[in-house]
Symmetry: C2
Subunit: 136 residues, 2 copies
DNA sequence: TTCTTGACCTGGACTCCGTCCATCGTAGGA
DNA sequence: TCCTACGATGGACGGAGTCCAGGTCAAGAA
């Protein structure tokens, strides 16, 4: 993630302290923060940052393909900086903990032509659910 | 779905006109209505039905396993009455159209033990995305 | 059939998540 | 250093869903 700002600058992004702070907050493995959590942590580093800016910045990072949006439960969306390594998610049904996982196999190949209803299918998203060690 | 009310009655549910109307609205294949849509259609049959009742009834049907909740895009949840036939979903990225699909294979088996992080995995949800014939 | 009662329904207030907009500030090129 | 267009701000707004106090009624009892 450290080179995220470089990539963004290369795409013509103006680098501001707000954007730098959001990028810093979104750094690491198994990071799946809500926009509000990003805002809280960013505000720790830059107290005056506004919610709207966090939403804007996250939205831009998503549309640039640098960050992945994860809708876990119909509540707040979560933001996953691990967008360059294809992966799926494993979610605890009880506490909501999320892990990045890498299943074998190719689910796209598992959808027969007859089941595609004429759609051009381009993407598959797999969500595993269960109980994490602490909740089991 | 016609026997849904019978099943619910068997589980000790009090059958009211409101619940009957919600059950009637949720009938058919490839039905994926939002709570608001359910409310609108139900109100067509029973004008005084309230939003809260629709939410309560849908929530109860979901927790009884008679209806399945589908979070498509982080907007409103959709309700799928086809809960007794395991299936996945295919969604048009452009217009949001949804179809029930039946992939081959077993994605649960595709998650190696080492990728389970100690979770007790019990459920997989697969969402295919692409463009429907009208949007392509 | 009528009575009784606890489960159910109602509508409006409320929360949470996210978006919009007018205005102000500033990064970075000239 | 100056300019200016892009970015940030914060407050109002909107959609989706939940909560609650009070009124209503389904269904078993007699």
């Amino acid at each position: 993630m450290s080179d995220l700002l470089e990539r963004l600058r290369g795409r013509g992004w103006r680098v501001t302290s707000q954007r730098r702070v959001v990028a810093e907050v979104l750094d690491g493995e198994h990071v799946h923060l809500t926009a509000d959590e990003v805002h809280a942590r960013a505000a720790h580093l830059l107290p005056e940052i506004s919610r709207a800016t966090v939403y804007n910045t996250l939205g831009e990072m998503v549309s640039l393909g640098e960050v992945m949006e994860v809708s876990t439960d119909g509540r707040a969306k979560r933001y996953d900086p691990n967008a360059h390594h294809p992966h799926q998610h494993l979610i605890c049904s009880n506490c909501g903990a999320i892990r990045d996982v890498h299943p074998t196999g190719n689910p796209l190949a598992d959808l027969p032509q007859a089941e595609r209803f004429g759609f051009t299918v381009s993407e598959v998203e797999v969500t595993y659910r269960g109980l994490c060690p602490s909740c089991a």
